[in-house]
């Protein structure tokens, strides 16, 4: 049962990572691509970690997996945030839609 749940979660996680990778390659500008990377970092990695939790089979390994999960959960959004902020501050524009380029500042 555990193996089944773990395997299912692993498959869903793999699909999410794959779609994130496609997004990373296909989306039009930096911020959209960052969204793709963010999906991989958070949902994809999170699902895979959850699958590992079901597959781990021992309390010690499960605890280590939880620790990795907590670190990823904190650090992945922060990396995405830092990348986006750095891009904004180095003068990259956010495209509101396909025709119009909107200049935004670093601070809201």
């Amino acid at each position: 049962m555990m193996t089944l749940i773990g395997g299912g979660l692993l498959c869903i996680g793999a699909c999410v990572v794959l779609s994130g990778a496609v997004g990373l390659l296909r989306l039009p500008d930096f911020f959209c691509r960052l969204h793709g990377a963010g999906v991989i970092d958070t949902l994809g990695a999170g699902l895979v970690i959850l699958a590992m939790l079901f597959l781990s089979g021992s309390i010690i390994i499960a605890f280590k997996v939880v620790m990795i999960g907590v670190l990823l959960f904190i650090l992945s959004p922060v990396t995405s945030h830092a990348l986006a902020r750095a891009a904004l501050q180095s003068g990259l524009t956010v495209r509101a839609d396909r025709t119009e380029n909107r200049q935004t500042t670093g601070r809201d």
């Binding site: 670190l71 904190i74 650090l75 922060v78 945030h81 830092a82 902020r85 750095a86 501050q89 180095s90 670093g106």
Partner: protein, 336 residues
């Protein structure tokens, strides 16, 4: 687990293909920034390969040094120097012939090597059975890697620490020379350009990293002192410790780092680690044993081995961590 060998093979092939692709991209890229990031990715893939090969301690080092510290140091250089104009032209005929020739020789050389994991390979016949069979009784340490590194091959490890120390001193001398020629003060610390100070002012990064860095330092201490039982030891702990401090330096500006640990203190730490290692060897001599023979250091053989290995690992960790931090500080000095 069924088919773990097959999964490992698939993982190996995939990772090696990614490694090759990264190397080709690095050759073809023109921007130093891109090459630095790609070399970080290269190290990350290597790190994964080491985990697949069950060499977790090597993976620690590769992750901390290859991905973290080396990339940061190169980025510091790129930040301070004008971007060099790299031309990416196809190599000339001579260099292609030379490269292919050396490559063919290297591949031919592997033909004589034993298969990976072959228990009948000569290297596993000579000393390895003794290390694997005797080391738990002789040193009382479950992790054979640590007992081989620190006890049976203490000379080699002393040599490695001295190499790291010497390399660190050499870099410090080179950079110090440049500062003096410029005429500016030696302890002047570079203030970051505007774009970078924005990174420093980023509240989210500051808030999260100031909570993560203590965990990194704690993990380094764990790797240091748990090296007798699990993967780890002085080298790994040193680079993780160094990486934690360097992250702090990036977060608050390298100028804050000398406030935390003085530059003089870091250089003293480099020397002290090597001295501690050597002193353990000499005290073994004084106690009536051979150089670096820890068995005579305490009442029983295993207690002496424990004490000796603990002390020399501490020396290794001190030297490695101090070298990493002093490199970071000196790379961020005002070069003029």
């Amino acid at each position: 687990m069924p088919n773990i060998g097959l999964i490992n093979t698939v993982a190996d092939i995939g990772l090696l293909a990614m490694l090759a692709a990264t190397a080709v991209l690095m050759m073809r890229s023109q921007s130093p920034l891109t090459i630095t990031i790609l070399s970080g990715i290269y190290s990350l893939i290597m790190c994964t390969l080491f985990v697949v090969l069950d060499a977790v301690d090597v993976a620690f080092t590769e992750a901390a040094v290859g991905v973290g510290i080396a990339s940061i140091l190169i980025l510091c250089v790129i930040k301070h120097k004008d971007e060099p104009n790299l031309q990416s032209a196809w190599p000339s005929g001579l260099s292609i012939c030379l490269g292919l020739g050396v490559g063919v020789l290297a591949v031919l050389g592997t033909a004589d090597m034993a298969m990976y994991g072959d228990p009948l390979a000569p290297v596993h016949q000579h000393l390895a059975p003794r290390f694997l069979g005797q080391s738990p009784q002789e040193t009382g340490i479950p992790n054979v890697v640590t007992s081989v590194l620190a006890s049976y091959r203490g000379y080699d490890t002393l040599g490695e620490v001295v190499v790291i120390f010497t390399a660190g001193i050499a870099v410090l001398l080179l950079l110090a020379g440049e500062t003096r020629a410029d005429g500016s003060g030696q302890h002047k610390v570079l203030t970051f350009p505007a774009g970078h100070s924005e990174l420093i002012a980023n509240p989210v990064l500051k808030m999260v990293l100031s909570r993560i860095i203590p965990i990194v330092i704690l993990f380094a201490l764990y790797v240091q002192f748990h090296g007798d039982y699990g993967p780890g030891g002085g080298f790994q702990a040193g680079v993780i410790f160094g990486a934690g401090l360097i992250t702090y330096g990036l977060l608050c500006g390298p100028g804050k780092l000398p406030g935390l640990i003085s530059e003089k203190g870091v250089i003293t730490g480099m020397a002290l680690g090597v001295l501690l290692y050597g002193a353990v060897g000499v005290s073994a001599l004084i106690c009536g044993g051979d150089f670096l023979d820890y068995s005579v250091l305490s009442d029983s053989q295993t207690a002496g081995q424990h004490l000796g290995i603990f002390l020399i690992e501490l020396g290794v960790g001190m030297t490695v961590a101090s070298t990493m931090v002093s490199l970071f500080i000196s790379f961020n000095r005002d070069w003029g």
